[in-house]
């Protein structure tokens, strides 16, 4: 049960600014994911909430109580570290029960809660092992168990899955999601893996260089990115971005991609683009569709030779060139395509994103 609130939070290491004026309210029971490239300040934010890092500016509130000057032990949050940070000299059981022992909880209660965590995480056979005798995935589960037994106000996860192999990661992702539904606690989860962010989050925060670039639900940040950075960071493969020019001649607005590619725009887009000259245009790979016949006349369409073909099974990625820029198109229900084939591609204009060329912000 906790609401975590960050007010104008900043962190500086000497001249390096790790986190810049962060404002955020995380309501009770929300699964919040902090995502961003390496070095953007995710860990620093988390560590400030945990109390492991001193705050340079701003305030942190947990359940409306200001915790800036509180020791980590008085904040009742638990943290799962990237490297698990298990106590090497304690068995799995002792690792799990340690925080309760420190809190002077009665031994029957400790046993009860440890048993509970052990069965939730499937650690039955490992109870008396030392961390050095566990595999990465098992250590990861112990680290989570250690966080669970405390029944904290909030969980802080710092890239807990980054050391696991792909299969185990997917599996643990599901486990964490289940755990959240079961425990109903606030979770702040740091990752630089956007798939993890999309699948787990109630709400995603995309950070860059210490700033928040966008906050929103997974669907929101995917379908309505507020700037070029978010557009290319969320989604895989990254959104295609082109330079384009707005040609405004006798009240008819056209978008010019290169000398031979001019597209009309919708009424709605006309209003948005009227006063613009140079823009960035963003189209996701799945919105550039190769078509054989039934061409939709209201869509943009153009012909291109395929440079590279990458079959992935359920889909095939086609690489084409527009205005010297490499563009990826995703073909669902793939059929055989050879390098050099000329295909017709179509784009639904309503799926196109526009960004200001100067500010790189979405044009709305």
């Amino acid at each position: 049960m906790a609401q975590v609130e960050l007010k104008n939070l900043s962190k500086k290491y000497g001249k390096v600014t790790a986190v810049q004026n962060m404002d955020l309210i995380i309501p009770h029971n929300q699964f919040l994911v902090l995502v961003g490239p390496s070095g953007c300040g995710k860990s620093t934010t988390l560590r400030m909430i945990a109390g492991l890092e001193e705050i340079t500016g701003g305030e942190i509130f947990i359940n409306d109580e200001r915790v800036n000057d509180k020791d980590p032990k008085d904040r009742n949050v638990s943290m799962v570290f990237q490297n698990y940070a298990l106590y090497p000299h304690m068995s799995v059981e002792e690792n799990l029960g340690f925080s309760l022992k420190i809190a002077k909880v009665k031994s029957e209660e400790i046993e009860k809660r440890v048993n509970e965590a052990v069965s939730i995480l499937g650690l039955e056979d490992l109870r008396s092992r030392k961390p050095s005798q566990l595999s990465g995935g098992q250590r990861q589960r112990v680290a989570m168990g250690r966080a669970i037994v405390r029944r904290p106000d909030a969980f802080l996860f710092d890239e807990p899955l980054s050391n696991l192999d792909a299969k185990l990661r997917t599996q643990m992702r599901t486990e964490i999601k289940k755990l959240h539904q079961k425990l109903k606690t606030t979770i702040i989860y740091v990752t630089h893996d956007q798939v993890e962010a999309m699948t787990l989050a109630d709400r995603i925060i995309i950070m860059k260089d210490g700033y928040i670039e966008q906050i929103g639900s997974p669907i929101e940040v995917f379908s309505k990115p507020t700037n070029v950075f978010v557009a290319t960071f969320i989604g895989s493969p990254p959104m295609n971005i082109f330079s384009a020019e707005i040609i405004n001649s006798n009240n008819n607005i056209k978008i010019k991609l290169d000398d031979n590619l001019y597209f009309d725009c919708t009424e709605d887009q006309k209003n948005k683009l009227q006063n613009k000259k140079n823009i960035f245009l963003g189209i996701r790979a799945e919105d550039i569709m190769p078509v054989e016949n039934n061409i939709n006349t209201s869509f943009w369409s153009f012909k291109r030779n395929v440079d590279i073909v990458e079959p992935l099974g359920t889909e095939t990625q086609l690489f084409i060139t527009i205005n010297d820029k490499e563009i990826i198109s995703r073909m669902y229900n793939p059929y055989a395509v050879n390098v050099g084939d000329e295909l017709t591609f179509q784009v639904d204009p309503s799926k196109v994103h526009f960004f200001d060329k100067e500010t790189e912000k979405a044009i709305i």
Binding site: A50, G51, L52, D71, P72, K73, V77, S78, M79, F81, N83, Y84, A85, L86, Y87, P88, H89, F98, S99, I102, A103, K130, P131, S132, Q133, R146, R150
Partner: protein, 295 residues
Amino acid sequence: MKKFLNGPWVLLLPTLIILTCVVLLPLLISLWTSFTPFKLTKPDTLYRFVGFRNYERLIGDIDFWIAFGRTVLFLAIALNLELVFGLGIALLINKITYGQRTLRTLMMFPMMFSPILVGFQWKYIFNDNIGLLNNFLREFGVIQPIPWLVDGVLANISIMAAEIWSSTSVFAILLLAGLLGIPKDPLEAARVDGCNSWQVFKNITLPFLMPFVFIAMTIRSLDVARAYDIVQMMTGGGPAKRTELLWTLISRTGYVDAKMGMANAMSYISIFLSIAFTFFFFYKLMQSRQQLSYE
């Protein structure tokens, strides 16, 4: 014979010869002398075998056992105090972020002096007439000079102070190395898990440090068990044998009284002390390493 010359023995031969000359022969000779009434002044006594007579006499020798007991006590007190001070220094130095290297070097200074000089220096400090300490105390109104090296109890304390001053840095250095090697993550995890500083120290830091504590203990127990120079310089075992440790007693017996046979018998008994301590600390070292599951 041919097989022997080609075998692994040939390769080991140089080592075996050196070991025999350097270790085995002196050991055997000294062991032999402990069964004779060998006196340095009468060389022919070396060949008179008297069986266990030296050992039998030692068992009834109160002076020897008092020196033995004092050495054990000295060792126990000095080692524990050095551990406490060394740990304190290491923890403090580990906290500071600026000038750590300089301090680490400074801390080694006492170890750079010969123990003879240390004994000499401390003898001067503790001298009841002209010593620095008594002069200093006089400034604060202690008119009556304190007989640091003359009173039996005070003399032992003075020697202990010199010993601790010169060797605490062994503990400090080793424990600092231990502290620097502790991973940061478990410490932070413990803080988030609800520990205050003392609980973090007790539950996480200390288990990590224990192997280093026992390594330092092993080294220092061997050192102290053969303590000689400082005591010899400061009191020579006096007054009235009140600061006599095993090795001052042994050297007096061997070189002053010239009873080398007896002295060697004493040495053989005292070696068991060192072996016992080494064995004990090594056992504890292994145990603490196992705790951390390094093994």
